[in-house]
């Protein structure tokens, strides 16, 4: 047992690889049986990984800001295999492991060609995603961060929609371009400090001017990954063309890598530059929130609409991160987790009706509330969670971010708040066109309601959305100490400033 706990993170990365290796050797004369076996093995593997992630959560000590479940082995030169999680990263690992079984189930029937390669690519991607969130060596981080491009490129390109090749190229090259600049920054940091160890790099103080350049290089990478306006244009294409499972992972996990990167690298390693460039992030985020929300309002394609809404939500996250107070950062992390669940669920909802009618055009649907009652209910719940209705997960994150940004600057809070209003507008408009309205199309009338498999997919997502909305403390507790620690060590002056503002605001009341 001790062995399991001591090597939990490595085992979580290893399990999908073993599953993938196993799938490689599955052969059967009957192709249908072969496919079923492959899917079952993939499901089993991801469930096992998820169970391990629960142990990770249970075993995690919420009162400590240290890295836990640490494993470290010397590798090549100064580089070591060094993994561990703290409050900031732990829940992302759990999120990844949680979404994977759902993705496998969602692809159960919709993916018919090359099932074997599809599942192998997904399992490989799972290993890499867990690796990104748990790597404590910057080289290791970079390998996982960029290595994820390979399976995702293939997933979009092979199993994607009509325009998949354009989308796959755009996804690959955009992200690569962003991350190579980060690579040069990594070299510089390695040369200056002589280590690739992330905790040690956090303690190193880089000179002012250098810090700015390094910050910008990391920003190039994370802003593309996030994605922030104006480098977000790869996202709608990738989302629309990716298969349902790919969209879920893209929205649910891959987008979180940008925000996680800011929290793991930009803030603790370049604190001065972070404060220096905060205005830039706010400007870009507010533009993103307003602009992409307006763009979402006029979309004809359901997936594109949700993709643009993701950009807007991520604008929220970046604001939360860079206001540099506890509420903001915790809200940002919470929003990321919530968005991972909610937007994943929304893409699954799109997948359900896409499997039935094979179109994503909003105008082809309408009146689903009449013939697909359960589906309509679920879709409305997730839409409301996306809007941030109290009681759902979306609310907590938005509230914390708005609260934090108000303490920082009321104009930033104003900009962020417009996103809430516009978000409600485009989501409600989507719901009206899709779920309500006249049921006048014959093929839409013929669509059956959710099957048992689909209900099983949505059930855990629904539970989590309400759990996060009603009792957020189970998620905020592990985050809290690490965030406090980050602010205390790097931004104590800024935190005091914010504290002062909020007390004076309280006094004014």
């Amino acid at each position: 047992m001790n062995f399991l706990i001591d090597n939990l993170l490595s085992l979580m990365m290893l399990a999908p690889l073993i599953g993938a290796g196993f799938i490689m050797f599955i052969r059967h004369q009957d192709k249908e049986i072969e496919k079923r076996n492959i899917r079952s093995v993939a499901l089993f593997t991801t469930v096992v990984t998820f169970v391990m992630s629960i142990f990770l959560w249970i075993g995690f000590d919420s009162t400590s800001a240290d890295f836990q479940f640490v494993e470290r082995y010397r590798w090549v030169g100064d580089i070591s295999y060094y993994v561990g999680v703290d409050g900031i990263s732990m829940l992302f690992v759990v999120l990844t492991a949680f979404l994977m079984p759902i993705v496998v189930l969602a692809s159960w029937e919709s993916v018919e060609k090359r099932v074997k390669e599809y599942m192998i690519a997904f399992l490989l991607l799972e290993t890499l995603m867990i690796g990104v969130f748990s790597a404590l060596d910057i080289f290791l981080f970079y390998v996982f961060f960029e290595g994820g491009l390979i399976p995702m490129y293939l997933l979009i390109g092979v199993w994607g929609g009509v325009n998949r090749i354009y989308a796959a190229f755009k996804f690959f090259l955009y992200t690569l371009l962003g991350s190579v600049l980060m690579l040069v920054a990594v070299f510089y940091m390695y040369v200056e400090t002589g280590t690739t160890d992330i905790p040690m790099l956090m303690n190193h103080h880089f000179d002012g001017d250098i810090q700015n350049w390094l910050w910008l290089a990391f920003f190039a990478s994370f802003a593309v990954k996030m994605p922030m306006w104006p480098v977000h244009t790869w996202l709608p294409d990738a989302h629309v063309q990716a298969p349902t499972g790919g969209s879920v992972i893209l929205a649910g996990v891959l987008l979180k890598m940008g925000g996680y990167g800011f929290l793991r690298f930009s803030l603790p390693m370049f604190p001065d530059a972070t404060e220096h460039f905060a205005w830039l992030v706010f400007a870009l985020s507010i533009i993103a929130i307003v602009y992409t929300s307006l763009v979402a309002l006029v979309q004809e394609d359901i997936k594109k609409l949700i993709a643009y809404s993701s950009v807007a939500h991520m604008g929220f996250v970046t604001i939360g991160i860079f206001i540099l107070n506890a509420n903001g950062i915790e809200g940002a992390i919470f929003t990321m987790l919530s968005h991972g669940i909610v937007s994943g669920a929304l893409f699954l909802c799109v997948g359900v009706i896409y499997d039935r009618l094979h179109t994503r055009e909003i105008s082809r649907y309408g009146g689903l509330a009449v013939n697909m009652k359960i589906y309509a209910t679920i879709f409305v719940i997730f839409s409301m969670a996306s809007v941030g209705l109290p009681g759902t997960s979306g609310f907590i994150g938005e509230f914390l971010v708005l609260n934090g940004s108000y303490a920082y600057d009321s104009w930033v809070a104003f900009g962020a708040a417009t996103g809430v209003v516009l978000g409600a507008a485009y989501m409600l408009y989507l719901v009206r066109r899709l779920v309500f309205g006249e049921l006048d199309k014959d093929d839409v009338k013929a669509m059956p309601d959710l099957s048992l498999r689909e209900k099983i997919i949505f059930l855990p997502l629904l539970i989590v959305v309400f759990w996060m909305g009603i009792y957020p403390n189970s998620f905020l507790d592990p985050i809290h100490v690490s965030v406090e620690n980050l602010i205390q060590t790097e931004f104590s002056s800024a935190a005091e400033h914010a504290e002062g503002v909020s007390t004076s605001a309280a006094a004014a009341r």
């Binding site: 960029e146 290595g147 490129y153 371009l177 070299f187």
Partner: protein, 484 residues
């Protein structure tokens, strides 16, 4: 000069190859064209024997012989091993192709052996004379190899082009050598290094001579602006010959480049560094951008090799021990990628002969998944994407560049690697996303499949756990023997 016999231990591998090649030549002459298989196998044996002797008898200590003209050190051992591996692998892959095209002549393995001998002499050169002798032995063998398929216009054209331009570059190199000799008074690397050290600026003639010398060497490594021959020769030569060109001679020429710059002109680093930076940037740019519009896969690989030489030269531009180590790691990994890729190109055969267009690969993942996965691994590795071996090469060269303060060079390098990634992943797109073209015929023999398999394994993520650490250690061991 005394009448003593110089120590022959450092040159034992070269002697084995030289004497063996002549014996094999006699064998071939007496037995005629039927003897291809026999001569080929014996050549492989010879090179294997040379490798064994190199490691067990010569060893990595610094030894000088023939009045200081010939040097053997750990740098030489490391690069000679790479050259021997490249030559042996290229030779094993050639049989099937040559027989299908009726050019399975016994001269082929002998020429490869002689070229290899030339390369080994180049690597061990400690004197301009040795350098020139080795270089010419290598080049003359390569000219003939390029024109091996003499009934095809493309092949003879490639040979002739290579010869004319190669002769021009040899001329420049010799002119440079003569200038250096005239102004510095010696052609011995050690003496040059000690003469040119010191604070006073070197004579203008030496600088001009060195630049001419570098131009000649840049031609041999196919660095921009002396790269023009590469695409034509790569495309025109028979594919096994191209596979050979892209591997061993590249390694040898880069090693020679390092040997000359670090061994003979260490005191003039500030002079040659800017030239290396220029040709490195130019090579990376040309390699990345011109490859974008190629449709022939051999031409594409030619431009790709130009780009990769640019990356490798980043290590030399750094001019530090870490830079040389990075360069050696880079060429070792590049060797496996390029041999694997050409192995795959050798499999591109349909009933009407070899095909070379990228579009011929379309849908390969559906007709031959293992080959498609192999090529995909090579392409991602060539693009330097993490998880594959190619990333390590990139990591070390750019790290060395940043360490040496050449940050702009590193930035240009990583940006061109993104452009390069575009054409590499385009090949993957053709194989995995497009509709299938007719399947390829098999019949290239087991050795080609074996080479592709091993090279793919070396480039796959497996290497991260098994191969990189020893490779880096070995490269470090090789790099520290050069004088600093």
């Amino acid at each position: 000069m005394t009448g003593e016999i110089p120590s022959l231990i450092p040159v034992m591998p070269e002697l084995i190859l030289a004497i063996g090649a002549m014996v094999l030549l006699m064998l071939g002459v007496f037995q005629g064209d039927k003897s291809y298989g026999q001569v080929s196998n014996l050549s492989i044996l010879l090179m294997a024997a040379a490798a064994v002797v190199l490691v067990t008898q010569v060893g990595g200590e610094r030894q000088v012989t023939f009045g200081g003209m010939f040097i053997s050190d750990s740098f030489a051992v490391f690069t000679k091993m790479l050259v021997l591996v490249g030559s042996v692998v290229a030779l094993t892959m050639s049989g099937g192709f040559l027989k299908q095209h009726n050019i399975a002549k016994f001269e082929f393995p002998i020429l490869i052996t002689l070229a290899t001998l030339g390369m080994m002499v180049m690597i061990s050169a400690n004197n301009m004379m040795t350098l020139y002798v080795g270089l010419e032995l290598q080049s003359l063998s390569l000219y003939v190899l390029a024109a091996m398929n003499r009934d095809r216009t493309r092949s003879t054209e490639a040979g002739l082009k290579y010869f004319v331009l190669g002769a021009l570059s040899s001329g420049m190199l010799l002119y440079g050598v003569s200038l250096v000799y005239g102004f510095a008074g010696t052609v011995d690397f050690d003496l040059l290094a000690s003469t040119l050290k010191g604070d006073e600026a070197p004579a203008m003639g030496v600088v001009v001579g060195m630049v001419f010398l570098m131009a000649g060497l840049a031609f041999k490594v196919s660095a921009v602006p002396f790269h023009m021959w590469t695409p034509d020769v790569y495309e025109g030569s028979p594919t096994p010959v191209t596979a050979f060109f892209a591997a061993a001679p590249k390694v040898a020429a880069l090693a020679l480049f390092v040997r000359v710059m670090i061994g003979a002109f260490p005191g003039m680093a500030s002079e040659w560094q800017q030239v290396i930076v220029f040709i490195s940037i130019a090579s990376m740019l040309v390699g990345a951008f011109i490859a974008l519009v190629q449709t022939n896969i051999k031409r594409l690989m030619a431009y790709s090799s130009i780009g990769h030489v640019g990356y490798a030269l980043v290590g030399l531009a750094a001019g530090t021990e870490a830079g040389i180590e990075a360069l050696l790691v880079y060429v070792a990994i590049y060797l496996t990628m390029t041999l694997g890729t050409f192995g795959a190109i050798l499999c591109m055969r349909r009933s009407n002969g070899m095909v070379e267009d990228i579009s011929d690969l379309s849908g390969l993942s559906q007709s031959n998944l293992p080959l498609a996965i192999g090529i995909a691994i090579f392409m991602f590795s060539l693009a330097g994407i993490p998880l594959l071996a190619g990333f390590w090469g990139k990591w070390y060269v750019f790290l060395a560049a940043v360490e040496a303060g050449l940050i702009p060079l590193a930035i240009v390098g990583v940006l061109t690697s993104v452009v390069g990634a575009f054409y590499y992943i385009r090949i993957i797109k053709v194989m995995f996303f497009d509709d299938p073209a007719p399947a390829f015929e098999g019949g290239q023999g087991k050795s080609v499949s074996f080479v592709i398999g091993v090279a793919a394994l070396i480039n796959s993520p497996v290497s991260y756990f098994v191969l990189i650490a020893p490779l880096v250690t070995a490269a470090g061991w090789a790099a520290q023997s050069l004088l600093f």
